[in-house]
Symmetry: C2
Subunit: 329 residues, 2 copies
């Protein structure tokens, strides 16, 4: 569904006799990794404080792709059903097929390609149907070797998936991201907002997974330091964009009807992730660690034959916005 | 995952000036449709009687593929959460792309191809976690026009998806199907049992959706009348293979633990259907009617991070059989 601008097309092989002596370049990878880890800690601390439940951490490696993972998961909290905040750092080599699959066809190479990626991803599902789910991901990608990168780019975004529409919540989420975007490039927010609406599209339902936010990939149209700062700000702002919404909605009363609708919406979330989400599909096909690949799925999902909300209901108002995205900021 | 023997490969265009005067050939399509409709009624009557709840029927057509559907659905019954027993009859023309997609790459054509298909499909999910889910599908496929078919074949099968393993139930289900198969060709049951295990494979979990049964496609290695009789017997035997199991397990007591496990297994069922099932994937991509394409999904599904059954538990015994299929008949 996504229309990616395919900037990093590489058709020649990286020269494998890289020297690792250039400390400045070496340190960029380290800095990217450090930023992801620091932001992971900040976000987890904020969520832990709000929920009153601690995260458990699992550190593991995937030897075939030389990737190290730090998964922090909060399960069955007071407010949150499930939160996963994960950092992955890979320094490995893509086969031509994997390069294509991992980048949605953008990276076309004829021969094995060394790459580095540091990423932070997070997904949050709450108990109360009035509290939206949220998702974010932030990554720095580089091909070539540490001392002599061939191509680099940033990707990321954050998006909100409510079960019920509180317009002020959606506006707050979008506005927080727009404010950061606008300070870097006035074209960012409109482009990334549209990209987000396009990416999280459940084609067979003709509706979006949620009310969007921002989504970007292959971002390298500016100097690397500036874009690194942009990514750092985006990731750092996630709690500001989301936690005030949780606080405002966490104690709202709800009934069986709301819980039921939440589970139906969770079914759509599952459909999107299993069928369309590039990361999930790649993870499943490439033999990734299933617990991690599917960590973003909601705990309870429901399907019912021909379920259509009553016209004019709160549920129908929610679907309207998913079918026809609005401008929020 | 399925290794289909690609018998009906067609590379030339059907001559569209067919005469529809040959009543004998014309009537084969009508007979196939009649058999599907009769079996639909028989199966629905048996399930209705057992459950004490009636089916509702929806008849609709998909104009683009000139397909008529008769969907019978039982929702929130006394025993069954959801039963869908559907007949579809299509008399239309495949584009080269659709022909490939609809037949898993087996039907390779260069130009539009007229086809006919009559199919019966059913899916059953019960409330009690001790009652297995079941699925069956039976179809007659023909290319060319009514008076002069180019190729024809039968496809179908039935499979069982328990949450807990009762060996005698699985053996009964397999034995019922084996007895029919053996009367036609001693190679059928072993081939179709293996094919079923291969088809219902959740590759990323390295386990099967259920304990199998039989699965076959592109079946045309015998005269058409004999194979029609075979398909009719298979479809007609579905209640015999399944209902005794329901009767035996419907009143078994269960606890929250069993219900919880059932929902986790339902999550795997959803994963299979959305990611691997050829019919579902084709239906979603081709813009099929979503309520019908996804009617097979269980009502409640659950996902949990890193859920692994305790060694030696009833849940672990179930998974063992899904990971390593056994011989049952």
């Amino acid at each position: 569904m996504m229309n990616v601008s395919c900037t990093p097309t590489i058709s020649h092989l990286y020269n494998s006799t890289c020297s690792l002596e250039d400390n400045e370049l070496q340190s960029f990878r380290a800095r990217a990794e450090r930023m992801m880890r620091q932001t992971q800690s900040t976000i987890c601390a904020a969520l832990e404080k709000l929920d009153g439940t601690g995260f458990t951490e699992e550190v593991w490696t995937s030897p075939d792709l030389n990737t190290s993972y730090t998964d922090r998961v909060l399960r069955n909290g007071n407010l949150f059903q499930m939160v996963a905040v994960n950092v992955a750092v890979a320094q490995s080599t893509f086969s031509p097929e994997t390069a294509r699959a991992a980048t949605g066809g953008c990276l076309k190479v004829d021969e094995p390609l060394p790459f580095f990626v540091a990423s932070l991803s997070l997904v949050i599902h709450a108990h109360n149907p009035m509290v939206p789910s949220a998702h974010g991901h932030y990554r720095y990608f580089e091909t070539g070797c540490d001392a002599a990168p061939q191509h680099w780019w940033f990707g990321g975004g954050a998006d909100l998936t409510p079960n019920y529409l509180f317009e002020e919540d959606v506006a707050h989420f979008h506005r927080t991201h727009r404010e950061i975007c606008d300070r870097y490039d006035p074209s960012y927010y409109p482009r990334f907002k549209k990209w987000c609406d396009e990416y999280f599209f459940i084609a067979h339902r003709r509706e979006r997974r949620g009310v969007g936010g921002i989504f970007f990939d292959n971002l390298n149209d500016c100097d690397r330091e500036t874009l690194f700062e942009f990514l750092t700000e985006c990731a750092g702002a996630f709690p500001l964009s989301y936690l005030p919404i949780v606080r405002k909605r966490q104690d709202l009363p709800f009934t069986e009807r709301h819980r039921h609708w939440k589970q139906l919406r969770a079914g759509r979330y599952v459909e999107f992730n299993l069928i369309y989400d590039r990361g999930t599909v790649f993870g499943l096909k490439s033999g990734g660690r299933i617990a991690s690949v599917l960590r973003g799925l909601p705990q309870h999902a429901r399907w019912e034959y021909q379920q259509i909300p009553v016209e004019g209901s709160e549920e129908a108002k929610m679907v309207d916005v998913l079918v026809t995205p609005r401008e929020w900021a």
